[in-house]
């Protein structure tokens, strides 16, 4: 069996194809950044999660430290139970606040962790007690409108 020019071209073709796949995986898809090192599980309960979705990032000081695994509704007290996986390189004090934030005005929602000063840290399977729900824009607007309406002179004629 002799080597032919066709072999060379097919070789070039396959190398180009594999390079393109590697480019897509690393440069476009950021494969290495997506993996967490031996993540541990934490859960948090929220009254309202707004538009939070599974696989959304968990950030502390703006750095992605984990991802949301799943979101369920607790049938007993009707709270949203968010299961998270956190990179084991980071451990958070037990009085850490979990808040639901939005990146930008219309951006995706994520969970922000604000660490407190406790010396104990969360371990695998712990529940974050201190949570703050998502800000729902409609509630905010209606609150603002009702408080404005209450200030109008015809709304409280007693004065």
């Amino acid at each position: 069996m002799n080597r032919t020019t066709i072999d060379l071209w097919v070789g070039v073709f396959v190398v180009l194809g594999v390079l393109a796949l590697v480019f897509l995986a690393l440069k476009v898809g950021n494969l290495n950044g997506a993996q967490l090192e031996q993540p541990y599980a934490l859960t948090a309960k929220f009254d309202n999660i707004g538009g939070l979705k599974a696989r959304a990032p968990i950030k502390s000081a703006g750095v992605v430290v984990g991802r949301i695994e799943s979101i369920k509704l607790d049938p007993d007290n009707f709270q949203a139970v968010v299961a998270m996986r956190i990179d084991s390189r980071y451990s958070f004090p037990r009085d850490t606040y979990a808040t639901i934030n939005t990146s930008g005005l219309l951006g995706e929602q994520y969970i922000g962790l604000d660490p407190g000063g406790d010396t104990d840290v969360f371990k695998d399977g712990d529940v974050i007690k201190k949570t703050q729900s998502a800000v729902v824009l409609e509630k905010l607007i209606s609150q603002f409108m009702f408080s404005k309406a209450a200030e109008l002179p015809e709304a409280n004629p007693a004065k």
Partner: protein, 263 residues
């Protein structure tokens, strides 16, 4: 009058029965190809030759159209995104549309017309000139020797071509968006990397391209093998390959997308 109406129904019925018949024949043909595939891998030279003809020779059209599709996406995307002041999301838009949809579909359509039609014409002509029958006479299985290598050549080539198409497209979007218009290159790549998920976006795109590759490969070799052994028959088979492949790509794309991105 009644005769005429009955004739119409009879015609429709015959077409439907014929289509179902051909579908079953194609399924049996696929099984035969898979059973006869040993030769294509034992004598890999045969498959290599077909990768050269369908893959390497399609490189130019795939790379150039990928680049231009990406550049158009860059221009159109910028025009729309800058109205909302979020032109940094251009990278996300270009990469998402290419990796998820445009890459597999457009490259698949181009591949069907460039390589699929050539495979059909070649096999059809071999049949018309009785080369396949001659092989059979010499106890050489034409499916193992002619059909299976072409099938595998096309099925292997398309996923690689799609990856190159998407890469060229992202690069074209980068050229227009970041180099020509002046969107910040850092946020172009950065936002793209945060928004694009390896499993959800890239692996799903690759899955699509693999499925399309097998569909085009099967349709091309089947139409060629099943063509009428005349010049006219070969030309009709070639046309049918392009039409059926294009419809199959678009239909399969919808089915796959509804499975992959349901919620």
């Amino acid at each position: 009058m009644l005769e005429g109406t009955a004739g119409v129904f009879r015609g429709v019925g015959a077409r439907v029965i014929n289509a179902v018949w051909r579908l079953g024949y194609a399924a049996r043909f696929l099984v035969r190809i898979l059973l006869a595939s040993g030769t294509s891998f034992r004598r890999f030279q045969l498959t290599l030759r077909e990768i050269y003809f369908s893959g390497v020779l399609s490189l130019i059209i795939i790379l150039v159209s990928g680049l231009f599709v990406g550049m158009v996406l860059g221009l159109q995307g910028y025009d729309t995104l800058q109205r909302y002041g979020s032109e940094e999301a251009l990278g996300v838009l270009v990469a998402l549309s290419l990796v998820r949809e445009l890459g597999p579909v457009v490259a698949g359509l181009l591949f069907a017309s460039r390589a699929g039609s050539a495979i059909t014409a070649e096999i059809g002509l071999m049949k018309a000139t009785e080369q396949l029958d001659a092989m059979d006479m010499m106890a050489v299985d034409p499916i193992a020797r002619v059909v299976a290598p072409r099938f595998w050549g096309a099925a292997i080539s398309l996923p690689l071509l799609v990856a190159m198409f998407s890469t060229m497209g992202v690069y074209g979007g980068f050229l227009i968006g970041a180099v020509h218009i002046g969107v910040d290159a850092g946020s172009f790549w950065g936002q793209m990397q945060t928004a694009i998920d390896f499993q959800r976006d890239i692996l799903n795109g690759v899955t699509k391209s693999v499925v399309f590759g097998f569909a085009i490969a099967l349709i091309s070799v089947f139409e060629g093998y099943d063509s009428d052994a005349t010049a006219e028959g070969v030309s009709r088979a070639t046309t049918r390959t392009v039409v059926t492949s294009s419809l199959a790509i678009l239909g399969l794309d919808f089915i796959l997308t509804s499975f992959m991105f349901r919620g």
